[in-house]
Symmetry: D2
Amino acid sequence: MVIVMKPNSGEKEIREITKVLEQLGLGVHISKGTERTIIGVIGDKRVLCGVPLELMPGVEKLVPIVESYKLAGRTFKPEPSVIDVSGVKIGGKELVIMAGPCSVESMEQILEAARAAKKSGAQFLRGGAFKPRTSPYAFQGLEEEGLKLMQEAKEETGLLIISEVTSEKNVEIADKYVDMFQIGARNVQNFQLLREVGRSQKPVLFKRGPSTTIDEWLNAAEYIMSEGNYNVVLCERGIRTFETATRNTLDISAVPVVKSLSHLPIIVDPSHAAGKSQYVLPLSKAAIAAGADGLIVEMHPNPRCALSDAAQQLTPEEFDNLCKDISRIATIIDREFKYGG
Amino acid sequence: MVIVMKPNSGEKEIREITKVLEQLGLGVHISKGTERTIIGVIGDKRVLCGVPLELMPGVEKLVPIVESYKLAGRTFKPEPSVIDVSGVKIGGKELVIMAGPCSVESMEQILEAARAAKKSGAQFLRGGAFKPRTSPYAFQGLEEEGLKLMQEAKEETGLLIISEVTSEKNVEIADKYVDMFQIGARNVQNFQLLREVGRSQKPVLFKRGPSTTIDEWLNAAEYIMSEGNYNVVLCERGIRTFETATRNTLDISAVPVVKSLSHLPIIVDPSHAAGKSQYVLPLSKAAIAAGADGLIVEMHPNPRCALSDAAQQLTPEEFDNLCKDISRIATIIDREFKYGG
Amino acid sequence: MVIVMKPNSGEKEIREITKVLEQLGLGVHISKGTERTIIGVIGDKRVLCGVPLELMPGVEKLVPIVESYKLAGRTFKPEPSVIDVSGVKIGGKELVIMAGPCSVESMEQILEAARAAKKSGAQFLRGGAFKPRTSPYAFQGLEEEGLKLMQEAKEETGLLIISEVTSEKNVEIADKYVDMFQIGARNVQNFQLLREVGRSQKPVLFKRGPSTTIDEWLNAAEYIMSEGNYNVVLCERGIRTFETATRNTLDISAVPVVKSLSHLPIIVDPSHAAGKSQYVLPLSKAAIAAGADGLIVEMHPNPRCALSDAAQQLTPEEFDNLCKDISRIATIIDREFKYGG
Amino acid sequence: MVIVMKPNSGEKEIREITKVLEQLGLGVHISKGTERTIIGVIGDKRVLCGVPLELMPGVEKLVPIVESYKLAGRTFKPEPSVIDVSGVKIGGKELVIMAGPCSVESMEQILEAARAAKKSGAQFLRGGAFKPRTSPYAFQGLEEEGLKLMQEAKEETGLLIISEVTSEKNVEIADKYVDMFQIGARNVQNFQLLREVGRSQKPVLFKRGPSTTIDEWLNAAEYIMSEGNYNVVLCERGIRTFETATRNTLDISAVPVVKSLSHLPIIVDPSHAAGKSQYVLPLSKAAIAAGADGLIVEMHPNPRCALSDAAQQLTPEEFDNLCKDISRIATIIDREFKYGG
């Protein structure tokens, strides 16, 4: 960290700050410029937690030099992580596709979705059981019943199961059914929930929030990892901007940025980013071309009858085309995806 | 709601849509323009939940005409609501000021803060016991112990107590101590938590999220109200924008906009909006001048020793000046605030 | 357009509005819902320019049904446009790549850049002669001298020339040298300038502004087209959001959205979007995979010596790799790009 | 400026950078931390223009310590500037109000507006003659004819005249009529135009752009000032955010932030920020309470007949109430405004 002093500050203020830092065991490096004096602080900044240097006399501002997350960063672990979910590896050469309806609605619906997902090559079945919806008057999910239906679909198809958890209570319930927890965008800074899944060893798909910076997102991932669960896969799903032509603005740059800052794998959710099924295919191709490790895509046997987010769910045919296209792109960017499973 | 048809759609598509709507008991009104045909849908749109009209053949888009929240809206209740919190009324003529430290740290600190708050005229003592922090390595609050310290401060000063709850579990704990729950910006769409406080009758201060539109915020308030708890006070605390000179961008317009759309009272949190204590006074004055029903302000007996958000907490002296200024503005905008209590 | 009436409005207000509309030769269609009455307006809305219906008694709001741009829209021209620039076609099967330094600096520099661009297969040489820079103390471009140097590079390599114009005056100057004008992001709503290039027949590369919605962008394109110049190619170059890890946030979705709303071709500028050369390759691949018709990329023979935007310019080697990768992706998405020219 | 080195960089890279800096006459200060080495650069950074240090081997990033604008900053001139416009002082104790229609439409309209403005106490008449409009099919202003009408209104009422200029050509025309140039939000980075008004000595009202940071805005002001014209008054008019309930989001915090960074006066335009006349009064009061030096407000003798921006223009009666309220607030914040002139 660097402390920038005000133009009119003097020796006395610098001495006072130096004293505080040295008492905390930190090193100090003073550099006098033509317009400002700056103080470099050397050592583990965690001892500064709760020491409001910015309020000391003469201080103009503090400039962080090193990022505040540790376990999620490349400095901590330079080589990319590969997360093993019940045998399927995320972050390796193989691309991973998760597909299924926004909400689990019935045995028939989820089975049909699972068969379609399996047939085209997806490794995971997604489906919402606990649904956070903007309006309280909208369908809120089948809850545990939905998870049981997913498990039956898993038994038939062999697909792994991923589903969103929205509270500490339903982490406990979902734990019995899912291969991977999903933390949704609205809960990206629900730290109690992050801690809860952090205390498990089950892999977590961790979505970015609509107004979360990449730096905050990696700090939030740190909540999960600092509890001991390193099996975190990030998921970019669009951020909120002034543009309203799409539901969110897919931050495609987040893929290479996260890859340069963190060792964690990252996949992309084109469905929530676009909000319209017609844009899901081009965004999926873009995501894979940009280096994403996979996709999570909404697909419904009959989108016209969907109980939630109908407009953004692909039909099984559209999804099949997507998988075909992804498998072709995979080959030329040195990745793999087995179309048709 | 209005259904806009594609330029190339025909009678067949219109008939099909009409059939679906009429089967649901809705009225239909067709209007053929020079470039598009539009279909007006008449009746209670809640029967359309889960009917994805936007996917029917020939449909270009749906245009909502009426807002989706009910209980929070002016149509439901035209006159402004006044929320009674243990005798203090929010939304009436009197302005309400809530003040106190970001985090409760010790008996001495909270007592000193409470005395200063009381002396200048505040009606509420605020203080964080359960602290959601961006980094897991930062101070996370004293939890129940903190609430007990606040209660002692209440006993001495008579101030009402408000504190943030971040999970269903700590709603239960906080219920024993606080006069008003606070839902923080990060939990604005934590619907499980909203439902939980909705099942209580205790008043709720409900902060806007950093990327929540006013429409979504009122819909989220609906989660609390639809459980039966109408004692909701809204709190604008800044939104996330591209500007980095302040921690957030205070959306001052939200004050008159909320007042025109909703009957709920609205107060302003200038401390989190600004992120720097030097801007808290001008923003507080602006908020009151714009019509806010009160303020929630961070104040610490000794900000330099604060364990969290030191830069944005006022000293007791600064807070006293703020109360003095607010009381003077109050008189000329036909409100009241008793400076000095 | 649909006029939404206030809940408490009555027959009198509706009659008054009907009268105004009918006097203007517009048709009227009234639809009474359970909560609101809406009035559909039928006919050419341009007669309403300057008729502030939203201020008439009883009116709650106006809801536009049809977009306000005409010439740039798919309704006006359903099939995609292919823009011919001195024989190179943009928007057809072949992908177009424009490359060159941020600023033209010297004969040697621009020649070296042109040779490298040509060698890898680019069809256009880009280079800034009139540089709009955030600070007045930064290098502002060689102006006409720079354009002359580009022309020499064109003579040697056969590359077409594109350069930014920033005022009516330099449109006149640049017209003698360039094959295509570029309108930069800062001038997206400099309507005088748009009109000026609209009065020419020379093709225009028209960049989106950092805070321009797609709808506003297409309306701004209409300024150029309504003067008679239909040779417009759009260029997405990133929008301003809260994320600071990249210079701008590339709105990759703009590619399929523009393709669905407009017949104009669209290319992508990954260099200004990313702001860092390390992200240019993944973003370029993403753009092409999403369906862009080409790229405009900053490349400098020696980025370390660049006089502007050094951090985002590729070396000739990096650019060569980019062209190689693009040519491979092209084949599998049914496009073409001849790597190596 | 501070240069942050990569974790794996060594002595060789540091030596190389040191050499470059010293050759340019800059001082160097090296500070080795536990995770990173940082290099403080001492001296006038303008010699670094065009030296891309960020591309040198071993460099992770550059961190600016001092802002890049000079003339607009408090370091250059600590005491606030008061700008004299034909005898009216902006930035002093007296608040300044500029009022008038969005567009000048006719002699009768502008005269009526001027009389109303004068009667309530405004010092300036505003009115658009050159109108930049989002759609080319909208009314584009009366141009020079409009300015002549304003001059007649000035002769009758004694109000000073302010009007927007949108190109170098109309600076020349407007110069004959106006007391103060206005640069609109769309031209905040039209540097040619800024230079042009910078070469005049006539005061300039300089609006912030919808996606301009305060730092960029002050740098753009520097374009005007570096040409010798120091008579710049800033104007906050709302920024673009995700919120759509208002036309723009008024960044009220910009008032105290600009006051702390710059010596230039700042006024607020509540009309463009709100986009709806009903929010203009509360936002005006907020702006003055926050410390703004004045307001520029749209007012039309008959908003229902306005040719542009009808929804946001006040009636003369509403404007009169605004002036009355402002004069009352002025007294309690130690400012002055003579209601009724």
